[in-house]
């Protein structure tokens, strides 16, 4: 547990001091929204509000990819990754620390992007903010568990920026499908379909546990 807290604290403090990742993720995801505006017939307006939940998750995945690519590449400087691997505890705790840091950094970006979506697509958030936050948190938990895990792998490959999406998108699709389904349900009917919630919980559980156990084979110095 102390390793978890130490890794989390270190990542958040270094992010707070540089603000590199948050700014890059935010600017990039806002650019993605602008691209949507020009890609959609009718633009990013209320006319396309029914597409907004799916597009919102596309923007979230792009933002997450950008941030997750940095999650372990920052550890390559001064070979800090070797020190992480040498920590005399189960490496699963290092994973959890990294996972939580990525989750919180992505969460900060997600809030701003959701507000921008609400403005452009004129989405009505009244009365559904807690449910929406819950779905985003569950979706992000899946996104960050798979992402943090494969980020540690991708950082040890050539073309690491390309390798991460190739590795993480196929296992991520169940999480993404369920999150989109849940968000659509929330905006159209005001409630979350139970099937999508179940899938989100099960997928998050499986990926978090598998990553915790298998991280031992992935992190190396």
């Amino acid at each position: 547990m102390r390793v978890l807290a130490a890794v989390l604290w270190k990542d958040l403090v270094s992010e707070w001091r540089s603000r590199e990742r948050v700014v890059a993720m935010l600017v990039f995801s806002l650019l993605v929204v602008v691209v949507f505006h020009f890609a959609l017939p009718g633009g990013a307006t209320a006319r396309n509000a029914s597409q907004a939940p799916g597009l919102l998750w596309v923007a979230y995945v792009f933002a997450a990819l950008l941030g997750l690519n940095r999650a372990f590449s920052i550890e390559l400087e001064n070979d800090a990754i070797s020190v992480l691997a040498l920590a005399p505890v189960d490496r699963g705790w290092v994973f959890l620390g990294k996972f939580l840091a990525n989750f919180l950094i992505l969460g900060a970006v997600q809030i701003v992007v959701a507000v921008v979506f609400a403005v452009f697509f004129q989405l009505d958030f009244s009365g559904i903010v807690p449910q929406f936050a819950g779905i985003v948190a569950l979706g992000s938990a899946g996104l960050c568990s798979v992402g943090t895990f494969f980020s540690a792998m991708a950082v040890r490959t050539r073309f690491r920026e390309v390798m991460l999406p190739l590795l993480m998108i196929p296992p991520l699709l169940p999480v993404l499908a369920a999150a989109v389904e849940a968000t659509v349900g929330l905006f159209t009917e005001g409630k979350v379909p139970p099937g999508s919630l179940q899938l989100l919980l099960v997928a998050d559980g499986i990926y978090c546990i598998a990553s915790f156990i298998l991280f031992d084979y992935v992190l190396d110095g």
Binding site: T157, M163, L167, L199, A203, I206, L214
Partner: protein, 229 residues
């Protein structure tokens, strides 16, 4: 296994599987040629004899990859990894054959090249997963690390199958594939050609797998010899 390292000639298993494949291949050609033509779909229905055996061989390949990946992580012996890697490559070849032959059949019978049918979608995702597996292997630096990463990815590849299946069900895509291959679903005179084509598919898989494992071992021996020099 030590003899395979000492003498890198094709093993007996490879020769035997080669002869079996040749015999089954001949039987396959004759039986599929003489098999009755479907009254509804016409000659295009004969794609069945390539499409379904490819599917079985691809799924077998991916299962072997995951199993030998687990064995490699558990025992740490390189030979398990050689089988896992070879099986993934051969599996991807059969999966590609399945994905290419399917749309040709679909255009003729369903009227569309592609539909997002659950079985099709899951196979496409599997194909991407194992392409990523092979890319991961070739882009990872260090052979021990590549083997370890690939074994882990093979396990995740298996974990994602039920989740993806459930996700596709959630989207409520209409199933276009026939549910089963029970006796009644094949017309008169099609059972033997189908059975032989499935066996020929497995024989082709086994032969290619053994050939690929043999190649990997020879390559490892060569690399060792070059290092020694």
């Amino acid at each position: 296994m030590t003899t395979a390292h000492a003498n890198p000639s094709p093993g007996r298993a490879l020769r035997v599987s080669g002869w079996i494949l040749l015999a089954l291949g001949l039987a396959f050609a004759i039986l599929v040629y003489s098999a009755p033509i479907d009254s509804m779909q016409g000659v295009i229905q004969k794609i069945l004899y390539v499409h379904v055996p490819s599917a079985f061989a691809a799924y077998l390949g991916f299962a072997i990859t995951a199993l030998f990946g687990i064995l490699y992580l558990w025992r740490g012996e390189v030979r398990y990894d050689q089988v896992a890697h070879s099986s993934a490559e051969v599996g991807v070849v059969f999966c590609t054959l399945m994905i290419v032959s399917g749309p040709i059949w679909a255009k003729g019978t369903w009227g569309h090249w592609w539909v997002w049918d659950p079985r099709l979608t899951i196979t496409l995702l599997l194909w991407f997963t194992y392409l990523a597996y092979l890319l991961l292997r070739s882009f990872t630096e260090g052979s021990e690390r590549a083997a370890r990463f690939a074994a882990v990815y093979g396990i995740v590849g298996v974990l994602e199958i039920p989740l993806n299946y459930y996700a596709i069900e959630l989207f409520g895509e209409a199933a276009m594939h026939p549910d089963n291959l029970e006796r009644d679903s094949l017309g008169d005179g099609m059972r033997w050609p189908f059975l032989i084509s499935v066996l020929a598919g497995f024989a082709a898989f086994a032969y290619l797998l053994l050939l690929r494992v043999d190649l990997t071992r020879r390559r490892a021996i060569l690399e060792e010899a070059l290092l020694d020099d």
